[in-house]
Subunit: 184 residues, 2 copies
């Protein structure tokens, strides 16, 4: 009877340690992806030359224009949130590795903060995705013209950043699910 009890305890301990390893690996992935997303959009810049007709009587002139992430509030929000998520993950990774899931309160607090990161990251992806979509297709109803035909490289790089952040957010979603299952 006692043997069986000990075996069960060992199985639970093994399951817990496997979950902890998975948690640490996923956390590291989330860190890397949100860092990459913030950097990819943060360094995003494209300068291009367009022909502008100032007056119908004179020929059009060349004009150099630059697209930067800082020119659009949604992209600024995206970079800030990914930077926050990345910084938080570094701290939470150290915490979870140091406590090894022994402190239940710390573990619950980390899961709640992971949840906050899910909310923030998804809102940032939604914001930049909506603006990016208008950049690609434009919107004739409000006469917002597409800009990705001019800033193709910029738009492509922004899409890559959003993709990276999306996978990072899925990693956070997984971390919260681990947190829920950990308490089972």
């Amino acid at each position: 009877m006692e043997m069986q009890h000990k075996e069960e305890e060992m199985m639970v301990a093994n399951g817990g340690s496997r979950l902890r390893r998975m948690d640490a690996a996923t956390r590291f992935l989330a860190l890397a992806l949100t860092l990459a997303a913030a950097v990819v959009l943060g360094v995003n810049k494209q300068t291009t030359t367009i022909l502008v007709k100032i007056n119908p009587s004179i020929p059009p002139v060349d004009m150099r224009i630059t697209a930067k992430w800082i020119q659009m509030s949604a992209f600024v929000y995206f970079v800030i949130i990914n930077a926050i998520a990345c910084s938080y993950t570094t701290i939470s990774l150290m915490f979870t590795l140091a406590t090894r899931g022994r402190k239940k309160n710390v573990s619950v607090m980390v899961t709640v903060l992971d949840l906050v990161m899910v909310a923030l990251l998804f809102s940032a992806i939604g914001a930049s995705g909506a603006v990016g979509l208008i950049g690609y297709t434009g919107n004739s109803h409000v006469q917002w013209r597409e800009v990705c035909n001019v800033f193709d490289k910029f738009c492509h790089q922004a899409a890559v950043a959003m993709g990276l952040s999306f996978i990072g957010s899925m990693a956070y979603l997984l971390l919260v699910i681990f947190g829920i299952y950990k308490k089972l």
Copy 2:
């Protein structure tokens, strides 16, 4: 010793039943708020008359223009996600009331689905918020002009819908936190 054990069990049971009542109340609030958000934006429509100069040689003419939620992808996404969240909450509310938290697997599944709702709702709020902000302020870098000076009522109603949905999302966030604490 046995008395003390029974008292502890009763305290845990009381705590669990209080948490279940809070869960049901919050779930009902989330249902009402996401339903209201979907309806408030879904019925949003404003028709206004603007002066348009077609040709410099003739005087400007009146033109009637209409703003609807369906004209903007971010608003369509917002209405769909809020409708999904509201429908899901109705089902999950029935499930949680029927099982009374007795079935652990159902309870965990509901918490994971609540988490998915958090992600979806925050992405929808982010998307419509980003578009709404450009509607209010415009963006000179991409020459997207503000439209809320013309469609003031439409923009105001969209902001109300976003506010309702945001409080609804916070209710979902709370539901996931309850789900995490329930397992403690």
